[in-house]
Each structure stands twice: as C-alpha cells, then as structure tokens.
C-alpha cells in the first residue's frame, strides 16, 4: 500500500512541469521548515527545491561553497548571519554565482578586504545590490573595488567611516546606474564626493547623506537630479539657512525629505526649501528647531504633503494651529516626545485632518480626554495610534478609542490608565495586530479575555509588568490569537506553567519574554520548545525554577533559536552544553548562573560554532583560559564582561515606588 501511494505521488508530480511546482513552492512561505521537508521527500524534490530557491541566508561561512553549489539559482545572498566572511569565501561566491548573483548583504560581516570585494564585483556582472554597511575598516581601495560593479543599482555603505571623497568618487564614476546610495555616517565623505555622485549618477532615486560633513556646496547639484525621490539629510550640521535661501533650482521629483536634527536650519531655510520642492509627500523634521507659526506657514506650500514627523521638537500652540489650517489633508502625523502639545492644539489639528491614518503622540504628557475625544471623533480611519505615557488621559477616554476607531491595526497604550472597560471596547478593533499594554496596571484577565476573543489577528502583545494578568488571561489570548508571533509577559509574577502550555499552541511564536516569572518551570519551557519551533528569541531571566530539564528539549526542538538570556536561572554546565547543539545560536547572556563552572562554559562556548556575542560575569574573564578567548574572538565572537551585583530577590514593589518617584 505504502509503495503504491508513493509511486502514485511521484507520477503525479512528474506530470507537473517545473514551473508549476515552483508556483506551489512559492506558497510555502509561512514556515521555513516546510520547504526543508519538501526537499527531503525524494531526490527529484530535492533537485526541484534547490533550483527553486533564490534567496539564501546561510549561517556559517564554512558551508558556503557547498550551499551555493546546491542552490545554483541563488540571486540574493544574505550573509547577515555570518559574522566572519573572509576573502576566500568571497572568491568562492564570485566563482560559483558569477552569473546569477544580483544582491549580497555583507552588513554584519567582517574579515574581508578590498581584494575579495574586487573579485566579487569583477566576476558577478549582474550584481545590482550590495550592502556593505558597518565595514568600518573599508578604505578607498575597497570603495574602488565596489566601483567595478558596473550594473550596481543599490549600495548601502553606512558607517564606512574610512572611505573618503576619493572612494566615493570612484563609485560615482564606476556605478553609473546607481539608483540608491546610503552614505550615512561615512564621515570621510564631504561635498566633493557627494557632488560627484550627483553629477555622475543621474539615475539616483534615493540618497541618504545622514551625518555627513557636507555643506551647501553640494546641494544645488543634488537638487538637479531628475529622478531624486528620497533625500535624507539627518544631522547635517553644515547645512544652514543661507545655503537653502540660495537654492534656485526646483526639484520636482522629490517626495520624501528627512531633515531631522539639522540644528542650523530655521523656518527661513525651510520656507525657501519648500518653495523649491512642491511635490513633497513626506517630511521629517525630528529634533529640529521649534515648530512655530512661521515654520508651519512655511510648510503650507507643500500641497502634496501626506506625512509629517516632528518628533522631539518643541511645538507651539500657534504652530499646531497653523498645521491644522493647511489645506492639505495629512495621513500621518508624528508628535512623539514633542514639548508643548496641548489639548487645544491637538484637538484643532485632529478636527482639520480627518483622513489621518497614523498618529503618534507618545509622551505628550499634557493631553487629556479632550484630545482623545476630538481625535477619535474626527479621525475614525486611524490605523495606528501610539500614545505611550499619556498620563493625563483618564480611563474613560480609552473606551472612546474602541468605539470610534474600528480600523486600528497598531495600538500602543504603554503606561496608561486603561482598564478592563477600555480593553473591552478596544477588542472591537478586529484588525488589531500589534497591542502594547506594558505597565498598564489597571487591566485584569477579564479585560484581556475580550481581546483574546475578538482580536484574532493579533501578532504582537506586550504585557510587560501588567501585574493584574494571570493564567486565565494568557489562556484566552493563546486560544484566540493563533497568529501570535511575539508575547512579552515579563514580571507577571502569577504566571505559571499552564500559561506556557497554552501558549505552546501558537506555533508561529518567535519571541517569548518571560523574564521575572518565578513560578514557571522547565516543564512549561519544554512545552514552548516543542510547540513553538520557530522560536528565535527567548528571555527567561529570573526564572529560578528553570533548569537543565528545560534546556534539553529547547536544544532539541528550537533549532531556530538565535538569542537567549539565561541569567539567574538554575541551568548548569549540562544544560548549556546541550544548547550548543543549536546551530543558529548567536547571542547569549549568562549572568549569575550559579550552576555554571568555567570548564563547562568553555566547552559550551567552543561547541557553539556560530556564537557572535556572549555577555558574561566579569569574574569569568580570569577563569577562562586566554587562548580560548582569543580563539573565540578570532571566530567572530564578542565578549561583554559585566560586573553586575547579584540581586538576591526580584522586588517589583520597590520598582513601582521608583517609577512613581520619577513620574510626577
């Protein structure tokens, strides 16, 4: 019977052309294990799968050649999980994928030099995207090597601090088709390099010049770029009002402009700039000069504006009113951490901009229910509302949010007065996918039950320090939200293993934070490990009852685990050694784990081939052999030695007192 069935299946698939199988494979995206199991069915499936895969995200550079040979159609190579990529690997990549490779991400890797880059750019003629961010030791020679990629369209080179104008000049001349370039933090690049990019690369659509020491000299040529849509000038202190006033050229194509933290630009410069870029859709002026009447009036000319972000700036009442008086209808407004946002101003803005989709009023501590009433009554189409720490908003106001804003997808109510009534009302937002309720001390299981029952699309739930929540609340969430990917139950001291058992049904869970839940044990963790195979991030700090028994299933089932915090647990050498079998594991924090011996730690670290960062008690520095530390560092591991005092007991009460002291 079995044999027959098998042959039938193969026959069936033989009838299908490769393209159709590919289309089927395209649909297997939700779980990374699906394709793996598909490829393990039989040889032909194996071959089909290896032909189908276009994107590769390998974990170790040792296996790169073999992996690349297997997946011969790879176009996108993401090496962000390989901390160390040497020139040999790059030579291998350039040899094997010389015709197919279109995109490579080296942003988290180091250990290669300009010669490796040169071989890559010379042989991979189809290379269109390179991300070389964080290559802080890359010099002009490396930039010159990049310039050999003649078909390059996108280049990210943030934090390449050693590259100067000369290197960027080479890229400008070599890569004529460049559409995107990010030079953020490339402190060696000035007016000349940027100016040459603007002169030579006429196809540029997106330009990130954040924190560059550029001045007004390169601005005219940048604004002459015909297709420029995104321009990011964050933290460019060299640009001032005078230079902007001198701009004569009109840049019609520009849609997105970010001038955050440009301290030397006032309303004068802005108004002259806005008169030359009429088609702007998105403007970011975070941490800039105070938003006064004159600034708001200067921005009036931007008739296409849809989004404005003023995070961290001082906002005056007149400025807000003037924003409300604009004829355009904003879709997105961010006033996060803006000083001076009052009920009057915010209400006025909200009643004028009725099409608002996203509103960020994080830390606007002066607003009260008046603002919320106006916002909810006029902006009924809101999809995202972030109002962390709006401490004056009373609990009744949150009922209004649920009643009127039915389309909310993202809601951040961290540190607010919301209670169960509010949660019940909010549960009407059936599209809700992100809900943050951290430090909402008034909510209980009853309120959360409503959310669990109605918000089936919930993906992220933050219950950090919601001390009123117990097992039954988590149970309703686990049952009602099967798509849950991230949950934070940190410092919920009443949570037991039963919550973890129920959460183990959420098979898509990738981030689980249960720090400071003293009641959970290895049993609960084992259930999570078995049920949530996609787990990537795990924080079990302060869970005293978790020991090696929990580690063994974790090591066996959670093969995707990348980051773990084991501080203050009862794990010993055995548990840690077993964790070393997780090939993805990169980041470990192991502070004050009593059962750990230096030898056990050394063995575990040696066994963890892919480890990139370990946070350890400083005492271990002397106890671990120096050659071992050197060896691990050479492999790409970074040690962070901490000298934290052992805290005998978790004390949420004193924490609460501290919090009340700091918040007036």
């Amino acid at each position: 019977m079995k044999k027959q069935r098998c042959s039938e299946k193969i026959n069936l698939f033989d009838l299908l052309s490769e393209e159709i199988v590919f289309i089927i494979l395209d649909c297997l995206n939700t779980n990374p294990f699906d394709k793996k199991s598909f490829s393990l069915v039989c040889k032909s499936f194996y071959i089909t799968e290896s032909k189908h895969r276009k994107k590769l995200k390998p974990l170790r550079q040792e296996h790169l050649p073999a992996v690349l040979i297997r997946y011969s159609n790879t176009t996108h190579l993401d090496l962000s999980l390989c901390p160390r990529i040497n020139d040999h690997s790059l030579f291998a990549i350039s040899k094997i994928t010389s015709f197919t490779l279109q995109s490579i991400d080296l942003s988290r890797s180091w250990g290669f030099s300009s010669s490796g880059l040169l071989s890559l750019t010379l042989s991979c003629k189809n290379l269109k995207e390179i991300d070389i961010s964080n290559a802080v030791s890359l010099k002009d020679a490396g930039a010159a090597a990049l310039a050999e990629a003649k078909n390059l369209e996108k280049l990210w080179m943030g934090r390449c601090k050693m590259v100067t104008d000369m290197g960027v000049g080479c890229i400008a001349v070599g890569c004529k088709n460049l559409k995107l370039i990010s030079l953020k933090w490339c402190l060696g690049v000035g007016d000349l390099g940027v100016g040459l990019i603007a002169v030579k690369c006429k196809e540029i659509r997106s330009l990130d010049l954040s924190y560059l020491p550029i001045t007004n000299k390169c601005l005219p040529s940048i604004l002459k770029l015909q297709h420029l849509e995104d321009l990011i000038l964050e933290g460019c202190f060299g640009i001032d009002d005078c230079s902007l006033a001198a701009l004569k050229h009109r840049c019609k194509s520009l849609k997105v402009l970010d001038m955050s933290s440009c301290q030397n630009i006032s309303h004068l410069g802005l108004s002259s700039l806005t008169s030359s870029i009429g088609g702007l859709q998105q403007l970011t002026l975070a941490h800039g000069s105070p938003v006064t009447l004159s600034i708001a009036n200067g921005l009036k000319k931007l008739s296409m504006l849809q989004s404005i972000k003023l995070d961290g700036s001082v906002v005056t009442r007149a400025g807000l009113k003037a924003i409300g008086d604009w004829c355009v209808s904003l879709k997105e407004l961010s006033l996060s951490k803006c000083d001076g946002v009052t009920d009057e101003g915010l209400s006025y803005v909200a009643t004028k901009h009725r099409d608002l989709r996203k509103l960020d009023i994080t830390c606007c501590r002066k607003i009260s229910d008046v603002s919320i009433t106006h916002v909810t009554s006029s902006c009924t189409g809101l999809t995202s509302l972030r109002m962390e720490s709006c401490t004056l908003v009373p609990r009744e106001a949150f009922v209004l949010i649920g009643q009127r804003c039915r389309f909310l997808e993202e809601l951040d109510l961290t540190d607010n007065e919301i209670d169960d009534e509010g949660l019940k009302s909010i549960s009407r937002c059936s599209k809700l996918s992100v809900l943050k309720l951290g430090i909402c001390l008034n909510i209980t299981d009853g309120g959360l039950a409503h959310v669990g029952m109605c918000c089936s699309k919930l993906k992220e739930l933050d219950l950090y320090r919601c001390v009123g929540i117990m097992d039954s609340g988590i149970l309703t969430i686990a049952c009602g939200c099967p798509d849950l990917e991230m949950i934070n139950i940190a410092y919920l001291k009443d949570i037991t293993d039963s919550s973890l058992l129920s959460l183990s049904k959420c098979s898509r869970l990738n981030t689980f934070e249960s720090r400071g839940c003293p009641l959970i044990t290895s049993l609960g963790l084992a259930a999570i490990a078995v049920g949530c195979k996609q787990l990537i991030k795990l924080d079990i700090k302060w869970c005293h009852n978790i020991n090696d028994v929990g580690m063994l299933p974790l090591a066996h089932f959670s093969q995707n685990l990348r980051q773990i915090n084991l501080s203050y647990t009862s794990v010993t050498d055995v548990g840690l050694l077993s964790l070393a079998s997780i090939s993805c594991l990169q980041n470990m924090t192991i502070l004050h784990v009593k059962g750990l011996s230096p030898n056990g730690l050394a063995a575990a670290l040696l066994a963890c081939g892919g480890i990139t960062k370990v946070k350890l008690q400083a005492a271990f520095k002397q106890l671990l052999p120096q050659p071992l530390i050197d060896h691990l560092q050479a492999r790409g591991c970074v040690f962070q030695w901490r000298n934290k005092v052992f805290q005998a007991e978790l004390d949420p009460k004193s924490w609460k007192l501290l919090l009340e002291d700091t918040v007036p």
Partner: protein, 465 residues
C-alpha cells in the same frame, strides 16, 4: 596764475622765442647749481654711511627751520619748482609740435592747472601746520616734502605724456617713448635744486652751511621717492607676469594694436645701454648700470624709474597682437583677443608657440617654456597628491573633482600604498574601530564605548537589558 597764463600765451605765440629764452635761462642758471649738485652728490656717494650724513645735516636743518623769515620763503619754493619744469616741458613740446589737437591740449593743461592748484593748497596747509608744530620738525618735514615731490613728479609725468602724445614717434613704438621719458625725467629732475635755490638765492650766498642743509633734503627725498617708485613698478611687473587675461571687452578700434616681431619677443634683453651696448632685462638694472658711465647718470632723477602715465589720461589704450598667424591672439583672427602688455605677449608666445624646454628636475615629466612657470611648479612639485586615472595630478582635491566631473571615464586614482595595504592584511574590524576613533575628531561616539564592540554587537543591542 597770471604768471602761468602769461607763460602759456608766450609759449604758444612765439615758441621759438620762448625756447631760446628758456634755454638761455637754464644755461645761465644751471652752471652754478649743477656744480653745487654734483658737489653734493659726490659728497653723498663718497660718504661711507648715509646715516652719518643725515645726522650731520639734522642740526643744521633745525637751525634753518627756526628763523621765521626762512619759513615764509618756503611757500614760494614749490611753485617755483613747478614753474620751471613746466616751462621747459612746454618748450620741449613746442619743439616737436607737428600735428596736435589744441583742444585736447587745452584740456590737458587745465587738468594740470587744477593739479597744481591742489598742490598749492597742500603746501599752504603745510605752512600753516608748521607754525603750530615745532617740536619734531625733521620727521614731519620729510613726510611733507615727500608728499610734495610725489605730486610734483606725477604732474611732470603728465606733462611729459601730454607732450609725448604729440610726438609722432611715440605713436608707433613704445620702446621709443621710454628713452625719451627717461630723458625728460632727467630734465625734470634737474630743475628742483635750482628752483629752490632761486628763491633762497640770498641765503645761498649768505651761509654755505645752511644752503647745503636746505638743498640736501629735497635731493635726498627725490632719491627716496625714486626707489619707492621702483618698488611700485616691480610689483606691477609681477602682476603682468601672471598674464591675467580677465577677458576685458574693449570695443574693436577703441585701442591701438601693436605687434612685436618674433625675434623681438624672444630677445633675452630689451633694455640696452646706449654707451656700451650691454643688454638688460629690466630697465632698473640698466639704470644701475648707467651709473658707471658717469656722474650725470647718478642723479636721483636719472636713477628714478620714469613714471608711466596715470590712468586718468585720455590716451589711446594700447593692446598687443601675437605675431603667430592663426593664433587667437593674432590680430587677423576672427575672434581676436588682444594681449594687455608686452609681458603678456612674451609669456603667451613662449607658452603657446615655443618648445617647452624647461623640465622639472624633481618629477622629470612636467615641461615648461617660461622659466617662471617651472619655478612655480617646482615649488609645489611632489605635493600633488590628488591623482586622476588619466595620470594628471592636482595639488587640490576640489580641482581633481572638478576635472573628473568634466571628463567622461576619468576616475579618482587611489594611491598605490593604500591599495597594497588594503590587499595585504584582511581588514580587522577592531583595528578599524581604533583607527576611526583616532580620526574621529568629530563629536560622534559610536560603538566604541563597548570595549570590543563590533558592528554586529552594536546592531544587536536591542532586545537586551
């Protein structure tokens, strides 16, 4: 005024007569004063140190200043001084007057008259002041006299140029004008002492010591002003060497085009001694050389650089044409762009139409046809660190980038040592961090706060406590 007008009428009416009279007057005046002059000069040149000489004079000079009657005689001095060259120059003019425009001449003369009036006012002012300040007269007097002599010389030069415009020979070659100007300068210089002497003739006879002190100062000052002029002229020469072509737009015909021959341009010397024939590159050097040919060339006036005409003069502007046919600087070219000075002509001709025979001894690649260019280059040779892929080097980065922006396919060339370094050691991130923190005089603080912080660690920082 009366005197002047009378003079003018006289000279115009009966030029020959005036000439005769003047020459007679000069000849009658000159003997004694030139004698005195030469004596004075001998004294000066023979004296081991001029400083000594000055000290010796000073007491006498103060003595001279104190008597009031002497002061009263002073205002007369300048006018007299002026009148004399005036007359003489007029004579010279009339001498060679062939074709001239009386109206233009009238303009020039009235201009001169105005200038003289100004000078007169100045002297009056000085007289007024002198009666007030008696404390430190020598310094003041020196300054004042310097002022007056400077004004006087400019008046003289204007006179000469006015006269020169009448001379047919001057219209065609400038070289011809220079010697004549020199001559005139000499002429102009000589009358100073006699002018001063005339008014003080009684004193001259009375006390020899006083006379010497009185005379010595103006002469000294003339010498001073002469050297000053030399400086000024040299500076001007330097400016010319820059060959500044500021693209001035003179309407064609508004200027006179001169064209030197190739041989003339390339001739090493342009100033020749009329006595021994020795050639010099600079007129100043010639004048220094001339001193060896006799005492008459040692007078401050003879040593002084002849003035060029001031810009206010409505003279026809001179521009130069390159003799090389087909050159844009040649007057037959469609878009002819004239050259401003002879020096421009020389530099232009050498740079564009001659072999580059001077090779830089440092780099052995750069060649120049003008030696000054070579010297300028040698100053910076080796410092050119901005290199283009085409092999051109630049001393400034912005120049290199301007060059690259202009030409297709040219790219900045990364210095070889850096390339080798980049190839040799696989780059280590930690090294990089250190290096950048060294470089970072900037205020930004990156991951370096973490001891061994790599990019990865910085990036993963979120999500941990």
């Amino acid at each position: 005024m009366d005197l002047k007008e009378g003079l003018r009428a006289e000279t115009w009416a009966k030029s020959s007569l005036a000439e005769n009279e003047m020459s007679k007057r000069i000849s009658s005046n000159n003997p004694c004063f030139t004698d005195f002059n030469s004596q004075q000069y001998q004294q000066k040149w023979e004296d081991p140190s001029i400083l000594d000489y000055d000290i010796r004079i000073n007491p006498a000079f103060q003595e001279f200043n104190q008597p009031p009657q002497n002061q009263s005689s002073l205002p007369c001095d300048p006018t007299n001084q002026i009148k004399n060259p005036f007359q003489m120059n007029e004579n010279l003019q009339t001498n060679k007057m062939q074709d001239w425009d009386p109206k233009a001449m009238l303009n020039n003369l009235s201009f001169l008259e105005q200038k003289i009036h100004e000078l007169q006012d100045l002297v009056h002012l000085i007289v007024g002041r002198r009666s007030q300040i008696l404390g430190r007269p020598d310094e003041l007097v020196a300054q004042q006299q310097q002022l007056i002599t400077a004004d006087l010389t400019s008046i003289i030069v204007q006179l000469i140029s006015t006269a020169g415009s009448l001379l047919p020979s001057m219209k065609h070659t400038l070289s011809a004008a220079t010697p004549s100007m020199g001559q005139l300068g000499q002429f102009g210089g000589v009358p100073f002492p006699p002018g001063a002497g005339l008014s003080d003739s009684i004193q001259v006879q009375n006390s020899c010591a006083k006379k010497v002190s009185n005379q010595s100062n103006p002469i000294d000052l003339v010498g001073n002003s002469g050297t000053q002029q030399n400086h000024a002229v040299e500076e001007h020469d330097l400016k010319d060497e820059d060959d500044a072509d500021d693209g001035e737009q003179l309407p064609p015909g508004s200027y006179e085009i001169l064209q030197l021959e190739k041989e003339e341009i390339l001739a090493p010397h342009t100033h020749f001694c009329t006595i021994c024939g020795k050639g010099f590159k600079r007129d100043a050097n010639l004048r220094m050389h001339m001193r060896g040919h006799g005492d008459e060339y040692k007078t401050p006036a003879a040593l002084a650089k002849p003035h060029k005409e001031s810009s206010s003069e409505p003279m026809l502007i001179k521009r130069y044409s390159c003799p090389y046919a087909g050159c844009k600087r040649n007057k037959d070219h469609k878009k002819f762009q004239p050259l401003k000075t002879i020096l421009c002509v020389k530099n232009h001709y050498k740079r564009t139409h001659c072999d580059k025979s001077y090779v830089c001894s440092r780099c052995n690649t750069k060649k120049f046809s003008v030696i000054a260019d070579l010297k300028t280059h040698e100053k910076h040779c080796g410092k050119d660190k901005w290199l283009c892929s085409c092999g051109t080097t630049f001393s400034r980065k912005d120049k290199l980038f301007g060059h690259i922006a202009l030409f297709q396919g040219h790219t900045p060339a990364i210095p070889l040592d850096e390339t080798i370094k980049g190839l040799a050691g696989p780059s280590d991130r930690r090294e990089g961090n250190e290096a950048t923190s060294k470089i970072g005089s900037t205020n930004f603080n990156f991951g370096s706060s973490v001891p061994n912080g790599t990019g990865v660690s910085d990036m993963d920082a979120k999500g941990e406590s």
